[in-house]
């Protein structure tokens, strides 16, 4: 064989392309039995069908024919439970891209939902007015009619002061700011910047409390996941490239990159490479160096480097692990970490998905599905009768809070509280 050794590398990279993982499917149906969407609606034929099965009928030279795949929420439970390594969700994301390429048209609604950063940039300066206005039912009905954004979908409140604005103008100038050789990079993503600056502040407080200097790169942008899930791969790739270029400098210096948004850090870790096919050395390095904040802190704890000067919190608090967090394949670091707090009892809710799946539950035609997906989760949260519940991912927090009325917080907020930092 003359073609073996020198081609090994080509072979390997070809094999890592998600579309070819269809070849691994043995039809066992585990993905379908776990799919949160297929379990509540017949509109979606299920991950096995639209994934590895339909993939065998897709010729790159032919047009896309199966609109029903658009009912995939992209939660990724299928890829996680597949015992054979079929990248089902990733395959569907790519098929959706092809679907909208065939249609030659992406609804304005999807384009807008895909641009969370632009929305935040527009809304944040008018936060007090915007937050009130967007709660007005007649306006929401109007928006639903014109745009197709469901009237009941949870709208987060804009933050009057952006996180980055606070970091640049307040924190950087603060004498209390930690300057250290131990540095960590904070990837704040859109939600922290425009909606939940307080989570970013809590993250910085916790990291600094543990002796880390926190770098917030100025040139970071939205991870691109909302665009990716709405089939705008080209726009998502632009954002991905900006982030990779921004973050790779720190990664090369050996710094770790942490984030509080589990979906956004998952994009850095996996989606850029596996869905957007940006599998170059820089992307791989950024992927390797990226951590969910709880994953990072738990590693510190395991190395004996995490401060444990927690004040007791005597409470039992429900916790939902989002699907996009579980897709990190790192276990559930938030639970182990929070259980270091004396007196705390974390009640892990047994539910796969809250249903919102990023922008999915905002869409008029999918909102009911999204609420049906989350039903069991909502009931379990309500049954705990707790005033507060915990979840790592922002859209999931908004969805659960909207559905249950329970105040939702990020694990890092609880840690900051236990450290006495708030």
């Amino acid at each position: 064989m003359t073609t073996s050794h020198d081609l090994d590398e080509i072979t390997l990279s070809i094999w890592e392309q998600v579309q070819h993982s269809a070849d691994l499917c043995v039809k066992c149906n585990i993905c379908t039995s776990f799919c949160p969407v297929a379990n509540v609606t017949d509109m979606f034929p299920g991950p096995k069908f639209v994934g590895p099965q339909a993939q065998r009928f897709r010729n790159p030279h032919e047009i896309s024919v199966d609109d029903s795949l658009d009912y995939c929420s992209g939660c990724g439970v299928c890829s996680m439970v597949c015992p054979h390594g079929v990248k089902v969700m990733e395959m569907n994301a790519k098929a959706r891209y092809k679907l909208y390429k065939t249609k030659k048209w992406i609804p304005l609604r999807n384009r807008i939902l895909g641009r969370s950063e632009l929305l935040g940039w527009l809304g944040s300066p008018f936060a007090p007015i915007a937050n009130v206005t967007l709660k007005l039912k007649p306006l929401r009905i109007l928006i639903e009619g014109i745009m197709g954004v469901h009237r009941d979908a949870p709208m987060p409140a804009f933050s009057w002061e952006t996180f980055r604005g606070w970091y640049q103008t307040v924190h950087k100038k603060s004498p209390q700011r930690v300057i250290s050789d131990k540095k960590v990079v904070f990837y704040h993503a859109c939600s922290v910047n425009y909606y939940e600056a307080f989570i970013g502040k809590a993250a910085i407080a916790v990291l600094e409390h543990n002796g880390y200097e926190v770098i917030v790169p100025k040139d970071q942008v939205c991870c691109g996941l909302p665009m990716l899930s709405n089939a705008e791969f080209d726009a998502a790739r632009q954002n991905a490239r900006t982030n990779i270029n921004s973050l790779v400098r720190y990664a090369r210096a050996g710094h770790k990159i942490v984030g509080t948004s589990s979906s956004c850090t998952l994009s850095l870790k996996s989606d850029y490479r596996h869905i957007l096919d940006m599998d170059d050395a820089d992307a791989r390095l950024v992927s390797q160096q990226t951590y969910d904040i709880c994953e990072f802190l738990l590693e510190l704890a395991q190395a004996g480097e995490l401060k444990t000067d927690f004040q007791p919190i005597n409470a039992s608090i429900p916790y939902h692990s989002p699907c996009q967090l579980r897709a990190h394949n790192m276990g559930l670091p938030a639970i182990e970490l929070m259980e270091l707090i004396p007196g705390i009892q974390i009640k892990h809710i047994q539910a796969d998905c809250c249903g919102i799946a990023g922008t999915y539950g905002y869409k008029k035609e999918k909102h009911d599905i999204s609420m049906a997906v989350g039903k069991s989760l909502f009931e379990q949260v309500k049954a705990t009768e707790s005033d507060v519940a915990i979840c790592d991912s922002e859209t999931c927090r908004w969805q659960i809070e909207h559905a249950t009325g329970t105040k939702m917080i990020h694990p890092v907020q609880l840690l900051a509280q236990a450290y006495g930092l708030t």
Binding site: T2, L7, I10, I14, A22, K27, R58, H61, D66, H84
Partner: protein, 541 residues
């Protein structure tokens, strides 16, 4: 005993026989076809699925090459619904003699095959998984063709002109009166009934079995059986037919054909004595996977679904050929009257699937001459009956689209190949047989990655309900089909496909307890099981 009479009796329901039947019927002959199994069950159903552009024969067999390109263009017009216009490439890999590429290119143009050289970049743009170290690439109008649909379309179109097709009728005897063949005796293999058919003329279109049939009429015909082994890969890693740009003699495993949901690599060429009995050998499978790797560097990592072999009919008048690939692929039409002194008997053999129509035309021209009539052939201008009602090229996505639009409705029974309950029930209503394999040929049931793992029990249940089968008949249908599926997989069981088979085994043995059925209810052929255990593999028969 049933008695029938017809004007022309065609024996053999491969594509040639079906083509002859349609041509005869269209020219106004009363014609009947006898096939010992189902249509296209012999060599016509055991090939790559390649509609040749002729490129493969351009250098060493220009006549055959020219026939291929002419017929290729005609078939695209008359049976578009059976053809996927994949296009083809001839690639010169680092393992191939570089000087052959120019020779190939010139030879193509001499016989009017529109070969065009494209850049390696363009090749990779069209087919990203091809070996980037390929040196030269030529595109040709190869395509893939769905043989079962084609044969079915031919007999249905023939039936519109009054022709009759009798499947599962095996000829046991040719009736002679003096030096004339006057008919045939056949056994209906479903009912066991004997049928005698008298005819003015008999056409033998039985391919590699031509020698045997001719012997029944006391004619000496030598048709070599050239075994070719092929492997279907689970996934279309290429969507264009890919041929190695090499001299076809002494070259094996050098064509990959994307057809339906699979990609088929083949073939070997080994002479066998018995066209009904030829094992697939380990070296053939190994060789194919290695050769595939030269065209697609990750080839061996893709899942091989099953292997099968077919026997090419290679006719040679004088003596035995030493190298099968050197035997012309041009067909042979034998009039046994001048040749052997046997009247009313004609043999058509050799040739390619691609040239079946031309072979049929020549054959029926000879029939006209022998029956002293002049009737023009119109098969090159007549679009065949399409049971699906459209005359577009077949596309890979069509089944998915039909399911999406609701054209295929009802429960999904075969998930891998997208076959619904309504399709199966409609098909079951058309015949009296209890064979799941017939559904496979008509609808592709059980042909996907799980190889019947998830659909066989569903189909058996539908048969039980719709045809009022007994428990034993249902079990037998189920077991027979699983055996048929498993025999094609035994030679390619490794990696992911082995896991698949373990899952399937778990379903049938573990969950359904197929091996624990009381004797007499199972339908399992114990003798065959014992044979398999000693052989280590199933023979393809």
């Amino acid at each position: 005993m049933q008695k029938k009479s017809t004007e022309v009796l065609v024996i053999g329901g491969g594509v040639t026989g079906c083509g002859v039947l349609f041509d005869l019927a269209q020219r106004g002959f009363k014609a009947t076809l006898l096939e010992r199994g189902a249509l296209s069950m012999g060599t016509s159903g055991r090939f790559h699925g390649l509609l040749h552009s002729g490129g493969r024969y351009a250098v060493n067999d220009p006549d055959a090459a020219h026939e291929c390109i002419v017929e290729n263009q005609i078939l695209r017009k008359v049976m578009p619904h059976c053809i996927e216009d994949t296009g083809g490439m001839f690639v010169s890999t680092p393992d191939d003699p570089p000087e052959f590429a120019d020779e190939f290119y010139q030879a193509c143009h001499k016989v009017s095959i529109p070969a065009t050289e494209i850049s390696i970049e363009e090749m990779l743009r069209r087919e990203p998984l091809l070996n980037p170290k390929i040196r030269r690439v030529f595109t040709v109008p190869d395509a893939s063709v769905e043989t079962w649909d084609a044969c079915r379309s031919l007999v249905v179109s023939a039936a519109e002109h009054g022709a009759e097709t009798l499947e599962f009728h095996e000829v046991t005897e040719l009736l002679k009166e003096g030096n004339k063949v006057v008919g045939a005796v056949a056994i209906n293999k479903v009912t066991g009934e004997t049928v005698t058919i008298t005819a003015d003329l008999i056409v033998s279109a039985v391919g590699a079995w031509g020698g045997r049939l001719a012997a029944m009429a006391d004619c000496d015909v030598t048709v070599h059986a050239g075994k070719g082994t092929m492997i279907a890969m689970n996934y279309r890693m290429v969507n264009t037919v890919v041929n190695r740009c090499v001299h076809p003699s002494g070259s094996d495993g050098d064509i990959i054909v994307p057809i339906g949901t699979v990609a088929v690599i083949g073939t070997t060429s080994v002479r066998v004595d018995d066209p009904d009995n030829y094992p697939i050998e380990e070296w053939e499978v190994k060789l194919m996977m290695e050769e595939g790797e030269k065209m697609v560097p990750s080839f061996r990592k893709f899942r091989a679904l099953r292997a099968w072999a077919g026997v090419r009919p290679l006719y040679q008048e004088k003596g035995a050929a030493s190298d099968l690939r050197a035997v012309t692929r041009k067909y042979a039409l034998l009039d046994h009257s001048p040749r052997d002194g046997v009247d009313n008997f004609v043999t058509i053999t050799g040739g390619k699937w691609t040239t079946y129509r031309m072979m049929a035309e020549d054959t029926v021209d000879l029939v006209c001459k022998k029956l002293d009539t002049t009737r023009a052939c119109r098969t090159a201008e007549t679009t065949l009956h399409n049971p699906h009602g459209e005359s577009k090229y077949h596309t890979l996505g069509s089944r998915l689209q039909k399911l999406e639009t609701g054209e295929f409705d009802g429960q999904l029974i075969c998930e891998c190949e997208i076959v619904t309950r309504n399709q199966i029930e409609a098909n079951l209503a058309t015949n009296d047989r209890h064979i799941i394999n017939d559904l496979r040929r008509d609808l592709r049931v059980g042909m996907g990655p799980c190889q019947g793992g998830f659909c066989t029990y569903r189909v058996a249940g539908l048969m039980h309900k719709n045809k009022q089968l007994t428990t034993q008949q249902t079990n037998k249908a189920l077991v027979d089909f699983l055996q048929e599926r498993w025999k094609g997989m035994n030679t390619v069981l490794w990696g992911q496909h082995l896991r698949q088979m373990q899952l399937d085994e778990g379903i049938y043995m573990g969950v359904l307890g197929l091996d624990k059925l009381p004797p007499g209810l199972s339908g399992i052929d114990e003798k065959r099981v014992a044979e398999v255990e000693t052989e280590g593999y199933y023979e393809v028969s």
